[in-house]
């Protein structure tokens, strides 16, 4: 899957999870830039990503996510 396609799909997931259609998501977006990104929302987000992309992450993998770009790169590997 192309990284641009992944980003577009992630944008939809983020907007649904955080209930905000105006949410701006780029590769550089991290948790500090989105209001309400707490530990429970983090679980909702990861579960939604895993289900939408039909992949599974490990605890170690999600621990290494620092920004949306890291998620995109890993998804590109897992869906290739």
């Amino acid at each position: 899957m192309l990284k641009e396609e992944i980003l577009n799909k992630l944008k939809q997931i983020f907007r649904e999870i955080f209930d905000s259609q105006d949410l701006s998501i780029t590769r550089a977006t991290d948790a500090s830039q989105i209001e309400g990104w707490d530990s429970f929302m983090h679980i909702n987000l990861i579960v939604a990503i895993e289900e939408n992309f039909e992949v599974s992450f490990t605890t170690k993998e999600i621990g290494q996510f620092a920004c949306v770009g890291d998620v995109i790169d890993l998804l590109a590997t897992k869906t290739s």
């Binding site: 983090h42 679980i43 990861i46 579960v47 895993e50 599974s56 490990t58 605890t59 993998e61 999600i62």
Partner: protein
């Protein structure tokens, strides 16, 4: 040894079944606790006039026994309830024996979350309610 080190993530297919006798005393206690004293739950004539055999148990009282399973058996004490949905299909006239079963249907290992199917039925296998719960489980694998 920290007890957390002994906790393992449940697996898909793990299940727990529990039987409970729903008694009039339980319903009265729930009325007192919740303040829900709707006559459909406590008034024989009122319930019968509305087509029921007699007063019916509160759906949330039945759901309380789901909480008991989730918190004490599956997944157990290292878990917290994240979400729950229930759909009630048939009334439960009390006193009655009900079976409550939860079954793990999906495990999200990365975030330590499990999804469980819930089924509440009469002994005669008539479905009273079905539902879905999500629990976050703190295991040694997730805590590391």
């Amino acid at each position: 040894m920290n007890s957390l080190e002994q906790v393992v993530m449940p697996r898909v297919g793990d299940h727990y079944r529990h039987e409970v006798l729903i008694s009039s005393d339980m319903v009265q206690a729930f009325v007192k606790l919740s303040g829900d004293d709707s006559p459909i739950h406590v008034d024989e004539a009122f319930a019968q006039e509305r087509g029921y055999e007699g007063p019916i148990c509160h759906g949330i009282l039945l759901t309380a026994f789901v909480s008991r399973i989730l918190g004490t058996w599956l997944p157990g004490k290292e878990s917290i309830l994240k979400s729950i949905q229930m759909e009630f299909r048939n009334p439960a006239k009390y006193p009655c024996m009900v079976q409550i079963e939860v079954r793990v249907t999906k495990v999200f290992q990365s975030v330590g979350m499990i999804r469980l199917a819930i089924e509440i039925s009469h002994q005669q296998d008539e479905i009273i309610a079905r539902g879905l719960a999500e629990c976050v489980v703190r295991t040694s694998e997730v805590a590391k």
